[in-house]
Amino acid sequence: MTRMRTRLVVLHVLVLTLLAVLAVRLWQVQVVQGHEFVSAAAETRNRNVVVPAVRGQILDSSGRPLVRNRTALVVSVDRQQATRNPKVLQRLAEVLDRPVKTLEKRIRPCGPGVTRPCWTGSPYQPIPIDDRVSTREALTILERQEEFPGVTAEVQAVREYPGGRAGAQMLGYLQPVTEEELERRDGLKAGFSGVDLVGRDGLEATYDEELRGKPGLRKVQVDRLGKPIGVEQQVAPIPGDTLVTSIDARIQGFVEKAVHGAMKKAPRADGAAGVVLDAKTGRVIALASAPGYDPAVWAGGISEAEYQRLLSEKAGKPLVSRAIKGEFAPGSTFKVSSVAAMLRSGYPIKGTYGCPGAFMVGDRPFHNFRGIGLGTLTMHTALVKSCDTIFYKAAYEEWIRDGGLHAGPKAKERFAATARAFGFGSPTGIDIPGESAGRIPDRAWKKNLWAQTSAETCKRSRTGYPEVKSASRQAFLKRLAHENCVEGYLLRPGDAANFSIGQGDVLSTPLQLARAYAALVSDGKLRSPRIGWALVRPDGTLVKKIEVPVVGKLPVSPAERAYIKNALSQVASDGTAAGAFSGFPMDLVKIGGKTGTAEVYGKADTSWFASFAPTQNPKYVVVVMVSQGGMGGQTAAPAVREIYEGIYGIKGTEPVKPVTKLPTIAPDGTVQR
């Protein structure tokens, strides 16, 4: 028995050692490191629930909503919890009556090789997977939290568009905020609850910060499942400001209809845009682009197929606003700039000019439209009848005066400089993102282009184009490459001639053209157009009126402006748009404008009509552009006529009352008209 006793003593010592180890470890964990675990405990138990602020509405100039909020029951999933317990998604799929695969796709994070539907937001945010949940479904989820850990159903505001497709590109859309964007934001960030969205395009993007408001904070104690068991502290969210725009929802509707109709009528048309500016203030009254899309597709996450469709060439890239991003040769509408350039170059305003059927620019004949000569014209008639050869001649003469092919650095380049002064070649600075600059091809631009392309063209001038089938085309391309290689940096006389009638390398956006006309027919001041008019708190107090900055002055005297305006005023009644406006009650409201038909290599002509009304004291500037729409007088001008018919109530509808005052918003949020 002594051996057993000895062994028991050893066991005794061992047991006491183990107990001592436990006691020491408890001292370490509870007393020495205790405070660390106290804060760790608070971290796991207390959740800062960010209560998202209601996003501000976007209103038109009389207070009609362009974008408003609809409350919706939204079901969101915490990805980390859902991936830990795959059965949750399965049960959720049954409740929501959707395939599990779709839900799985919605919650995977976007990344290289992972295409939509996927989650672009922060991985620590609950991911909304359905925003059209019935109360019964939401209750099923909320009542059985044991079965649905990490799944929440809550009431959220979802964007709604009363105008449907109208102005979709201008209004923009919302997407979940990315981690980087969230980090850049000041103040509270939705880490746990709620969904942080960010405006991705259009007004939603430009005025994102103001519309967003300030989220509130609720400090809650939660249990393991994230279920709140008590509120410790609460800070109410501050709702976002309402953006009042100068858009007139009715006019926007007319423009949408006219632009889409014009596209349908022109068989080859692949895009169109319409711009209506307030001639006096430079504010935007309507901005439309076709083809359009229904912005409701963004709410609650977009499907992969839908997203691809929006980006596709086949659907006509409806996300792209042709009004501000579409760059097209402006054709004859550009002549207002060329007339001004002629006047600055000393061509007399009262002179008469020959308009032959063709003009020799160097060794190459440049033709009038259809090669028809119009005899001797005043500048006035040259604009009304849209003679080209007068401008060719003037531009060619200016080009020679600048020094021809080998102009020195002091070349005046009057035509290009005047065009720039009219606002072409640089973004207008409108308050929506993604605007294009257009292009003014002057001597510097040519040099730049050549620097970038000469390596390729010079190689091609040696190797030719063996991959091209037709031998004659091969020869043509090789000759072109050689020409570009050798003297591509030179502004050739033909380039100058084309420039004067808005052809060749000149590109303009419909908005650029519209604001040039607005400046021309009003006070000669070039403005940066604004869609936003004022920011107003939901209770009606004005936060900020958005001013329209003046960014330049046309290089034309008031008398000259009046002369040009006068000439343009005759276009719709006697000139190139007379056909389109036949039967239009010009005595009621007289329309002025200029047609444009720009040739595009390998495509149908771009159809333009830039207009203003009434001619006496212009209120509206309306520009319509139809890509591959044919002649300006045939496609764009009738569309503009439709818009005016709507505005002035000519087809029996109620005329649009011009809005000059901001709408009054009562403290309860209702709009008084």
Binding site: M1, T2, R3, M4, R5, R7, L8, V10, L11, H12, L14, V15, L16, L18, L19, V21, L22, A23, R25, L26, W27, V29, Q30, V31, Q33, G34, H35, E36, F37, V38, A40, A41, T44, R45, Q80, R84, Q221, V222, D223, R224, L225, I229
Partner: protein, 386 residues
């Protein structure tokens, strides 16, 4: 010897004998065990009151379990433990049959382990808890007869004991229940050590255990989740929301208790149910959070009292069988206590083992209290005959 024992067993059932025996009860052991049961009841109450149906959570059921356990314990204490020596093979066999039954469709799977036999009416038994007892008794029986003229057990008995332990451990491993398998291994090694086998053999066994562990890793005998659980305790921060979750949350609960604790029912981590399985395997975290260092050390001390009293009983017993039974029980409790509390404070890997006398769980409560009854029986007989 055997005949005398069988004759002597009748004595406690005489009134005088019983009265004499009751006075010889180990009072300290009894008080410690009852105190642990009371504390356990409070902890189960605190950790189940927020979610289990009824305002008292699982307390009523737990109290019923404790009451049944104490009754079984008293009955066992009244028995002449030497009678058990004769029946040890039968008891062992019955528990092994139980272990086989759980593996048949009669058994039910809970939390990934096939360890339960549902009895209906909300009651279930876990045969592996009784199997520990059966193994203790059988090993004590085998090792209690030394080789002629020595105080070392016979090789045949050691071999038979090894077979018995291997059979029970193998069956438990099939459930799979790693914790109980380890407890049985410790019981086997402990019984051999107390039984007086050569140190060489003990060292050899230790080496075999190390080799076995290496083989488990090498041949991937464990399920990946088991391996992950075992290794996560080394650095729970590698995956705090995954396998390290239990460990992290349990340390947060205990650590946040501080020196004095947050008070009964006031533990936020407990109320929020952050620690999984908190009323069973992780019940100690409730003590840590709500009673603080002072409270949890008290629990450790009370458990220490049980172990030390058990060792005392083993040492004072004149008979090899009694010493081996008591020693085996102490080894079982000691390992289970160290493993259970150790895993909650991050010094041992996580395995599913309840804390004796404290955790919720019927079968475990019964088996533990019966083991205490055995200790008392050994003590009473021991003193009655000397």
């Amino acid at each position: 010897m055997t005949e005398r024992t069988l004759l002597a067993r009748r004595r406690p059932f005489t009134r005088a004998g019983a009265r004499a025996a009751v006075w010889k009860l180990d009072g300290v052991l009894l008080v410690a065990v009852v105190a642990l049961c009371v504390i356990g009841t409070l902890l189960v109450w605190s950790s189940t009151r927020t979610w289990a149906p009824g305002s008292t959570g699982l307390v009523k059921k737990h109290l019923l379990n404790v009451a049944i356990g104490l009754a079984l314990s008293s009955a066992v204490a009244m028995l002449d433990y030497r009678l058990l020596r004769a029946y040890a093979p039968v008891i062992y066999a019955v528990t092994v049959i139980g272990l086989v039954l759980v593996l048949t469709p009669l058994g039910t799977e809970v939390n990934g382990s096939h360890s339960w036999i549902m009895l209906g009416g909300g009651f279930a038994i876990q045969p592996s808890e009784f199997a520990k007892l059966g193994l203790v008794l059988l090993l004590a029986m085998l090792l209690a007869r030394p080789k002629e003229g020595t105080d070392r057990p016979r090789w045949l008995d050691v071999f038979l004991g090894a077979l018995a332990a291997a059979l029970a451990m193998g069956l438990v491993m099939l459930q799979p229940d790693l914790g109980t398998t380890l407890v049985m291994g410790v019981i086997f090694v402990g019984a051999l050590a107390i039984g007086g086998v050569r140190k060489r053999l003990l060292i050899g066994l230790a080496l075999a255990a190390v080799g076995g562990a290496a083989a488990v890793f090498y041949f991937e005998l464990l399920e990946p989740y088991q391996l992950a659980r075992l290794t996560a305790f080394i650095d729970p921060s590698t995956d705090p929301r995954g396998v390290g979750y239990n460990s992290t949350q349990s340390m947060i609960a205990i650590g946040s208790g501080g020196l004095f604790g947050k008070g009964l029912f006031d533990g936020g981590q407990t109320t929020g149910r952050f620690v999984p399985e908190q009323h069973t395997d992780f019940v100690f975290t409730v003590a840590g959070e709500e009673f603080g260092f002072l409270g949890s050390v008290t629990v450790v001390a009370l458990l220490g009292v049980v172990l030390v009293r058990g060792l005392n009983i083993a040492r004072l017993c004149d008979d090899r069988f009694g010493t081996l039974v008591a020693g085996g029980i102490v080894c079982w409790f000691a390992f289970q206590i160290f493993e259970n509390i150790g895993m909650t404070v991050g010094i041992m890997p996580i395995t599913g083992l309840p804390l004796p006398f404290v955790s919720y769980g019927g079968t475990a409560t019964f088996a533990n209290l019966i083991a205490v009854g055995l200790l008392q029986a050994i003590r009473m007989r021991d003193q009655a005959f000397t």
